[in-house]
Amino acid sequence: MNTKLKVSEISKIYPGCIANDKVSLEFGSGKIYALLGENGAGKSTLVKILSGVVKPDKGEVFLNDESIKLNSPLDAKKNNIGMVFQHFNLFETLSVFENLSIDSDKKDEDIRLLVNDILQKYNFKIDLDIPVLNLSAGQKQKVEIIRCLIRNPKVLIMDEPTSVLTEQETDDLFISLKQFSKDGILIIYITHKLKEVLSLCDEVAVMRKGKVVSVSNTIDEKIESLANKMVGENLNTIKKKINNFKNSQEILKITNLNFKSDDPYETNLNNLNLSLKKGECLGIAGISGNGQNELFQILSGEIITEGTSIMFRNKEIGKLNPRERREYLMAFSPEDRISQAAVPELKIYENVALNNFKSSNFFEKGLVNEKKIKEHSKKILSNFSVNTNNVELKSQFLSGGNLQKLIIGRELITSPELLVCFNPTWGLDVGAINYIHETLIQINEQGKSSILISTDNDELLKLSDRICVIYKGKLSKIMNADTVTAEKLGILMGGGSID
């Protein structure tokens, strides 16, 4: 069973942005293809077109030399094109089996047999009768993959599948994908992670600003060559000098942190203890959903827990709210830029004003001092190289990278002693990631401390002085970063133990 897929001269134009500009590519079964590019390069638009979610303005798709119409996701299904989206397309409150059977015309018993066959063949272990919200990200992804496999796909498209997986889960996924490829399924793998391209894929197409800029065999490529193609310029690599802070002054000490939630979506935290020295960066690794959200909210004061002691600069701040903590020179950059860190409908300067201090005098006698806030905002925009100087712009029109620069800038411009950030580069492109990383290294060099909660191990290894792992609401022991490897983190993140 040989499958050939060809896209020819595909164009898709959104207001103010050319998402796909005459994209032509050819794929054949038996190989795994990488589609590589930064955010906004047009990869996602292309795969949305292939899965029938978005209609192209121009161009055609050919499956085995026949032109096919992809006007809806149903058309893609009919043509045996399966798609695993980056943001899972699952129904959280329905059971695994309901998720799998919903779009099938077959009888429930037949689907169950089919699913059990697939589970056995690929050695997946998933309980079919529990609600999806109880699954880990890796298991959810397997559900998505099984949903595609039920329909005997000729083409399987994976959109940034590893962004939520552990190292171990990623390895498992790669094994499965190679097996699918052997079974004759054509695999298109979308990613911005260069290592994955080299370790998994046979061919790589690089996209930049809506265009395909290069197609090559992965054997002929190196990480550097791909990175340069992807960004279109030469990037300098950053590496932090790891310091030893044994004798430095302690700035933060948390003892006996316990958190119990009634919400089944939340994770309980068990007896967390940690301390942080001045000028140090503590990295906290872990797969998302292991308590990072709760830990961040406890650090920021969004959640107040009884009986926990948080000593910051020799003051007990455990009972203070986020604003009061900011007055004590803590700063926070939450994971969700759009809904937690900034209000997208508000203008840039209004978002800056939200973060006010008593000392900042943004408000006088209950009135907004617009002039002062705007001056302050302009300073942030220029100091943190945000790609606009218009403080009247609504925040929703900033790209992810620029919004993150604004948020970090807003936090840092008050010279805090401690910055807590949670996935600060999540979903950003290489250029913006580099900038944020440089900024985070800089604040440590200035003697300020930081806590970096992240699901990106490369980032943690690059920026942290000490690292620990959070797993099911518990912290591993804290290790010096130079003794830690990605493999060790992977084991701890999956609940294993080392040495």
Partner: protein, 310 residues
């Protein structure tokens, strides 16, 4: 107060009758909300059903037409809501409120010519059995066919949602319309259908009031029952069986407090009138406090406008 068994039977029968409009409207709204649509126009749809049912009865002298017509008019009114929220993407809350205000005004206008006209007797099933069997007779017999339908409806609704493919699709759309759309489900169609079904049930609930419960037309005769039905759906955490329980408690305490007022207990009348509302909420909150179940039953996308990517 007399405590003979037959009287209690009659009392229970009355309680059942008074909860019928709530069960019908709430079951309809429950399906609508399970698809992720919040229609606050229940009261408006009910009252339109009440007047159109009554008006059709007067004009055609045929109760069958009156009942079918009331459901159809509820459906038409909900179609307006559907067009606005699903095709023109207006806000669910504002549109629903407007629908209620519109319904009340419209019904008053149509109803002007029907005030004071006596209703027609609605046929009751097994009237002989009601008289001949003490206690159980008045509970199980001598009701209108709509009452039997209403008491079966929550169980049918439960079966539909839990056991049928269509029910699964409705729940999926309510959980995540985007995912459903990406699975090739026509979200707009599903939501329209659920809105129309809800409208028809609310229309029927209104007709029950004007044709059977108090067979006449009085302006504003739904008297806030639509709002109670809406509250029932939420407090019952979108579970049809709990809606039935809630409606019975509400109907029960409404009837009981009337009796208590009649007997002349030394409790302020205002407090007694408020009792059904307070008790219903307390009981429903207590029986549905399992936060896990709430998560699983709550339509995650409730009230959110769905845009399809183009």
């Amino acid at each position: 107060m007399s405590f003979d068994l037959n009287f209690i039977g009659i009392l229970i029968g009355a309680i059942m009758a008074s909860s019928v409009p709530l069960i019908l409207a709430a079951s309809g709204e429950l399906i609508t909300e399970r698809s992720g649509v919040l229609n606050l126009g229940v009261e408006g749809m009910m009252i339109i059903g009440a007047i159109s049912g009554f008006a059709l009865m007067v004009v055609t002298d045929n109760l069958f037409f009156a009942v079918i017509g009331s459901m159809f008019s509820g459906l038409i009114i909900s179609l307006i809501f559907g067009l606005l929220t699903q095709s023109l993407l207006t806000n669910h809350v504002a549109t629903g409120l407007a629908l209620t205000i519109f319904g009340i005004g419209m019904s008053a206008m149509i109803g002007k010519n029907f005030v004071g006209i006596p209703g027609k007797e609605f046929p009751l099933l097994f009237p002989n059995l009601k008289e001949s069997i003490p206690f159980l007779g008045p509970i199980f017999f001598g009701h209108s066919i709509i009452l039997y339908f209403a008491f079966g409806l929550p169980f049918l609704t439960n079966y539909f949602l839990k056991k049928t493919k269509t029910g699964l699709i409705v729940r999926a759309v309510g959980d995540s319309p985007t995912s459903a759309s990406n699975q090739g489900i026509n979200v707009t169609l599903v939501r329209y259908s659920c809105i129309l079904y809800g409208g028809a049930m609310c229309g029927l609930a209104g007709a029950y009031l004007s044709l059977i419960y108090t067979p006449q037309w009085i302006e504003n005769m739904t008297g806030g029952r639509g709002w109670i039905a809406l509250a029932l759906v939420v407090f019952a955490t979108w579970s049809p069986i709990k809606v039935l329980i809630g409606a019975l408690i509400f109907g029960g305490i409404t009837i009981l407090q009337l009796h208590m007022q009649a007997v002349g207990l030394r409790i302020p009348v205002q407090l007694l009138s408020a009792l059904p509302y307070i008790m219903t909420i307390i009981v429903l909150v207590i029986i549905s406090r399992d936060s896990r179940k709430i998560k699983l039953n709550t339509p995650t996308s409730l009230g959110q406008i769905f845009y399809k990517e183009k």
